[in-house]
């Protein structure tokens, strides 16, 4: 059920060191890639069908193809290691266990796209993952894998690890770019897209850690082999981070298209205490929620999840058992979005706060029946009206919670307390 491509070195002794990585064939794919024409590498990545693993699922080869071939400005790569989507922790595993695979992926990607400088933007909270990737970059410099004239034909590449300082919005690609430039991480209007005008006004590729880490495998085994896992439109493997009420939470690398049921009930051991799965947020907190029944009948690939009305997102799966109050769960999530809105766009800045407070009030049993329609009216005005999609990321789950669990929301109206948990969390009273 699991297929270990990106996680193959996990658990090897000191897997994060250069010595251990080289022992398993590490950095051999750099040599192979240098012998290839950069265009051919982009073509190979296109053929593999690799889609971005940061959340949006954009085809990686196509993204690389948007970067102008000839540019009088240097080109940049930003590796997105901000990993802040609630429920997602797979990039942390990759950075902790196999940081050299990321460095190798960076070298190959930069060679393919003609990139001179790469930054690894890592969230500020990460301690161990930061030390590990920082140490790996240092080792790679010492060994001559990074620096100048790497291929004997004048290819130079410098890699710098850059720490964020606590802001979800810096995971959004243009928020990341602003932050890297030494500013508040407030997203930019697109177009222009980063591929043309990115960091420091230069052409820039932004890719997730897992995306870049897939590249050495594709170079080694080829596109056809890559497609042997996964489905026609969702090829390859994907790392899922599973948390919540499952017996064995953790990171699982599975072929795309695996039934969600297999991941939850077999790999993760099912629900704690043999309870029923009431709900499942399959792709990180920003995607619409599924009921337990829906989750048990969906396959984990981009198309099947879209058909089920949700998204693969970052693969951060949060499983909830039968005792979970859905109004309470939504209140917890909306606390997050209201806190993380960067404040540039009125529908997002005000909207996230309004819907949070309405759901807080409902959770306390003090809500009114009209609040449900008011919520849906606000979310309708938040979507598609802002600079980035954080507003949608708060609005879409809210709509799906109400749609799928409306009776539960209605049962809270005028109840004076949460009828499911018997008590309320009284978020509003504790709001600060």
């Amino acid at each position: 059920m699991e297929i270990k491509r990106l996680t193959k070195n996990f658990g090897n002794p000191e897997s994060w060191t250069l010595a251990a990585y080289e022992k398993t064939g590490g950095y051999q794919m750099v040599k192979k890639a240098f012998a290839m024409d950069p265009e051919a590498i982009i073509e190979l990545v296109k053929q593999s069908g690799l889609r971005g693993r940061g959340g949006a699922g954009f085809p990686t080869g196509m993204k690389w193809g948007f970067v102008p071939k000839q540019s009088d400005k240097p080109k940049y790569l930003c590796v997105n290691a901000d990993e802040s989507e609630p429920g997602t922790f797979k990039d942390r595993y990759l950075l902790e266990h196999d940081p050299h695979a990321l460095v190798e992926g960076i070298i190959i990607s930069c060679w393919a796209v003609g990139i001179r400088y790469a930054y690894i933007y890592i969230r500020g909270e990460f301690g161990l993952p930061y030390y590990r990737i920082e140490a790996a970059v240092k080792e790679a410099y010492e060994k001559g894998y990074l620096g100048s004239n790497l291929n004997g034909k004048g290819f130079d590449l410098d890699v710098t690890v850059h720490r964020g300082a606590g802001a979800y919005i810096c995971g959004e690609e243009t928020g990341l770019i602003e932050s890297l430039e030494g500013k508040k991480g407030q997203p930019r209007l697109k177009p222009p897209f980063p591929a043309v005008v990115g960091v420091f006004g230069c052409p820039t590729v932004v890719n997730n850690v897992e995306t870049i880490q897939s590249i050495p495998w594709i170079i080694e085994h080829g596109a056809e082999e890559y497609r042997k896992a996964g489905t026609e439109k969702s090829p390859g493997t994907k790392l899922f981070s599973v948390s919540g009420h499952v017996k064995r939470p953790g990171v699982y690398e599975i072929p795309l298209g695996l039934p969600c049921k297999t991941l939850v009930h077999d790999l993760c051991g099912g629900i704690i205490d043999g309870k029923r799965q009431k709900a499942n947020i399959v792709g990180g907190s920003s995607v619409p929620i599924l009921t337990g029944e829906e989750a048990d009948n969906v396959d984990l690939d981009y198309e099947s999840l879209a058909a089920a009305g949700t998204m693969l997102g970052s693969g951060g799966m949060i499983v909830m058992d039968e005792d979970t109050c859905m109004v309470w769960a939504l209140a917890v999530l909306l606390k997050f979005y209201a806190h993380e809105s960067c404040g540039q766009c009125t529908p997002c800045r005000e909207g996230t706060g309004w819907i949070r407070n309405l759901v807080y009030r409902l959770e306390a049993g003090d809500g009114k029946r009209e609040d449900l329609d008011k919520l849906l009216s606000i979310t309708g005005n938040m979507m598609g009206t802002t600079i980035c999609v954080l507003a949608d990321a708060a609005a879409m789950p809210t709509e799906s919670f109400i749609k799928k669990f409306r009776a539960e929301f209605e049962a809270h109206v005028g109840a004076g307390r949460c009828p499911i948990r018997g008590k309320s969390a009284h978020f509003l009273a504790h709001a600060h």
């Binding site: 994060w16 060191t17 010595a19 990993e83 802040s84 989507e85 609630p86 429920g87 997602t88 922790f89 942390r92 969230r123 500020g124 909270e125 990460f126 301690g127 161990l128 930061y130 030390y131 590990r132 920082e134 140490a135 080792e139 410098d158 710098t160 850059h162 720490r163 964020g164 300082a165 606590g166 802001a167 979800y168 932050s179 890297l180 430039e181 030494g182 500013k183 508040k184 991480g185 420091f200 981070s241 599973v242 948390s243 919540g244 009420h245 939470p249 990171v251 907190s285 951060g316 949060i318 909830m320 769960a329 917890v332 999530l333 606390k335 997050f336 993380e340 960067c342 969390a425 600060h432």
Partner: protein, 184 residues
């Protein structure tokens, strides 16, 4: 090769911090100045070095006082208002002195599903402080934090630069006792 070379890198380690900066003019040590100069070589302009410079400043001075903001703005030739705007945008730059051990408990969904609020109650009771507060002896600060990307160890917390979990109301009590003993 040290796989986990902890003390030399610029993480918000409270262990190495000095709080004397309050009310005094501030300046980097020679060693930090050396690192700062190296930092500048990694970016095409000075402004881009702002976040890492603030990290270094926080490590050296403990928190980002108004003096530190002015100092950093001089170093990087930026308006103090820009530096202040950046400091206040991010949650990890501290605008006040913090306890030696900064405990930040995650209150996002995966942690709350696994009993995060009981852990939070236990921590507040054990420390005798609320969220956003520091104990009178300067040993502990307590905050809540959004998802730490460690949901497999829910409920979890960040203590300075380390993650701990899964926590229970009992285990955090013992954890606080251990830290208190370590800090004496």
């Amino acid at each position: 090769m040290q796989p986990y070379a902890k003390p030399n890198l610029d993480i918000a380690g409270r262990e190495a911090c000095h709080v004397e900066s309050m009310g005094h003019s501030v300046a980097f040590s020679d060693a930090s100045m050396e690192r700062f100069r190296h930092l500048l070589t990694r970016y095409p302009n000075k402004q881009a070095a702002l976040l890492p410079t603030l990290w270094m400043a926080q490590q050296e001075f403990g928190w980002i006082s108004t003096e530190v903001i002015e100092y950093v703005s001089e170093l990087l030739e930026l308006p103090p208002s820009h530096v202040y705007g950046v400091v206040s945008f991010y949650t990890m730059y501290y605008r006040k002195p913090m306890g030696k051990y900064h405990i930040q408990l995650c209150t996002n969904l995966s942690c709350m599903l696994m009993g995060g609020s009981t852990v939070l109650d236990a921590l507040q009771e054990k420390l005798g402080i609320g969220l956003g507060e520091t104990t009178a002896d300067g040993m502990f600060s307590l905050d809540e934090v959004e998802c730490l990307a460690a949901c497999e160890m829910a409920p979890c917390c960040q203590m300075n630069d380390e993650y701990h979990g899964p926590l229970t109301p009992e285990s955090v009590g013992r954890f606080v006792d251990e830290l208190r003993a370590r800090g004496k």
